[in-house]
Symmetry: C2
Subunit: 341 residues, 2 copies
DNA sequence: TTGAAAGCGCTAACAA
DNA sequence: TTGTTAGCGCTTTCAA
């Protein structure tokens, strides 16, 4: 037989208030408040007395009350896509951990909002309920409802990724440059026939990666044959593209992200096509799956956690009224591995 | 040249307060409050008038103020491991999405806390800062600091997973039964020589899975040869165990989770050992990687999102003062696939 | 059925 | 250097 639990309020944390502290010390709330905040003139003796008492009695100012008085929540939102298969991506987890880490340092907490392509009600709730002081948006779309809504609401926010919207603080890797660089290197190795497989063309990251690919092809010294497939991040599409690539003697399959790359590797494996002997493979984003592959795959390497840290840091800076750059690019690395040798 | 942004408070959301509503309607705050909450006597005419006005002018009560008055935050915490390689697990993402979904329905928000094996400071901050009304803990450890701290703090909480601690509301799958059932089926097929590979023995889930394995072996009608490896969720250990299994003519390798299973599959592949012809493989937890494998792997199937939903739902029920079962088991499914044929 | 007033715990002018 | 006082926006007794 199961045991049942009933809520018992007796054991709630005993909450001591600023008034209690003031009374105990025979001073006023104001003085206590000043001792804590460090603002306003106060005798160092009094301050120490207060600080000591607070420390000993483990007093913590109630942030709700503080928030009401200062019109702040001490919360920011982390907004990420909630669609299954996307939420899971380690990329977002790592960004999030960066955001959390940075928030923590400022005694802020992170409230999570999951949005779906056509449903940003969760974000709207949080904003209209005034539960946050700012937000970090995990990715950008073309014609992005989240961005539009956040701008309208006037709440400070930073996006991870790029957007054409004006006056939006953006943190991203320079995908155009990075992808261009990777492709240029491959072309210098003499490759003349490549395909690029991308996911949704509503994800701006895919558009910028494509742009990098195209620019490298465009500025190549020789004539290059290339094909680009958008919206092809499913097994069926990847399968057909790979089949076709094999048939057309494509020299290198370039994947916009690790998920697509994993599918490509899988498919090539099933078809018994050897990497890199029969066909080369490169990816614009790496991950564990790809790193541990045999042979390891040539990829671009970014630091998602750093994106989160930077985004949050900029957000706080902006909230505090500082001048903040419109766009920040974080570094990348080109990792040349066996898959393109 | 980059553009720089400076925070401009002019565009902040215009906040209309309960007083504004009262003034506009020529009634008192109290009446407005009553109309909204539905508590206390109020003329239906007045109520409608208020509701209508609120609707039209898009008034939202400030939850901070409400929180201060009612001593609530309207936030719960989702506590998950922050260690890299663990945070990423789709399991936690899916639980989290369940928790969020359930919270949303009650106009609660979810605040996220990442804890590390020996560092629960993030949880402590959130609790002592009184920023939450309750918490859902994503997994349980032996001798769990999180559980201990949450109990001491007196804050309502529910754990996903099991624990020996008394008076803790737990939501889990019955791993003992599920794993026992899967193994029993394999034994009925005539297998007589198996190994089980588990991760950390500080994770209670691994202990319960082991228990299920052992109980099935113990109650088998024939004599079964079996070996159990704990703390073996790294490539090196898995490699050695698999090598050894091949050498010892083990019939079936059972993996405590999908990550281990992926490593096992990979290793067998490298060694050119065919599944299921030369060795069979089963996993106590499934995932996309495993489902798409060729041949598909025999696994247990759970619904992590449902765990999150149930945990949050129990938490709210408990917060509201209801009687709540100490332990809730959610269903599982045994998926027999080609890997054990 | 409605309203006045006190209070939730804190901050911040303004006075002293 | 310290205290008084008036909020922040809401809920909730207690009166009317």
């Amino acid at each position: 037989m199961e045991n049942y639990l009933i809520r018992n309020d007796d054991d709630a944390v005993s909450k001591i208030t600023i008034q209690d502290v003031a009374d105990a010390l025979g001073i006023s709330k104001t003085t206590v408040s000043r001792a804590i905040s460090g603002k306003g003139r106060i005798g160092s003796e009094t301050r120490n007395k207060v600080l000591e008492y607070i420390e000993k009695n483990n007093y913590k100012p109630n942030p709700i009350a503080k928030g009401l008085a200062k019109q702040k929540t001490y919360n920011i939102a982390w907004i990420m896509p909630g669609d299954p298969g996307v939420t899971d991506l380690p990329f977002f987890q790592k960004c999030m951990s960066g955001v959390i880490c940075e928030a923590q340092e400022r005694d802020y907490d992170v409230l999570i909002s999951m949005v779906y392509d056509d449903d940003i009600s969760s974000l709207k709730r949080i904003v209209t309920n005034q539960k946050i002081d700012g937000a970090v948006l995990g990715r950008t779309l073309t014609d992005d409802e989240n961005v539009r809504f956040l701008k309208e609401s006037g709440i400070p926010f930073v996006v991870i990724g790029s957007t054409d919207e004006k006056n939006v603080i953006q943190v991203d890797n320079d995908h155009v440059k990075a992808c261009g660089e990777l492709i240029s290197i491959l072309l210098l190795k003499g490759l003349k026939n490549l395909v690029l497989i991308c996911g949704s063309d509503r994800h701006i990251v895919n558009l910028t990666r494509r742009e990098g690919f195209e620019s490298a092809i465009g500025s190549a010294s020789k004539k290059i044959k290339s094909e680009i497939y958008m919206n092809s991040d499913n097994e069926g599409a990847v399968g057909r593209i790979v089949d076709n690539a094999i048939h057309e003697n494509v020299e290198c399959i370039v994947c916009a992200d690790d998920k697509i790359c994993a599918m490509v590797i899988d498919k090539l494996h099933k078809e018994n096509v050897k990497i890199p002997e029969q066909i080369k493979v490169a990816s614009f984003y790496n991950s564990e799956i790809i790193e541990n592959n045999q042979p390891p795959i040539t990829t671009l390497k970014y630091d998602p956690r750093e994106l989160g840290i930077t985004a949050a840091s900029l957000l706080f800076s902006y909230i505090e009224g500082n001048e903040v750059p419109g766009r920040t690019y974080l570094p990348y690395e080109v990792m040349l591995k066996g898959s393109t040798q």
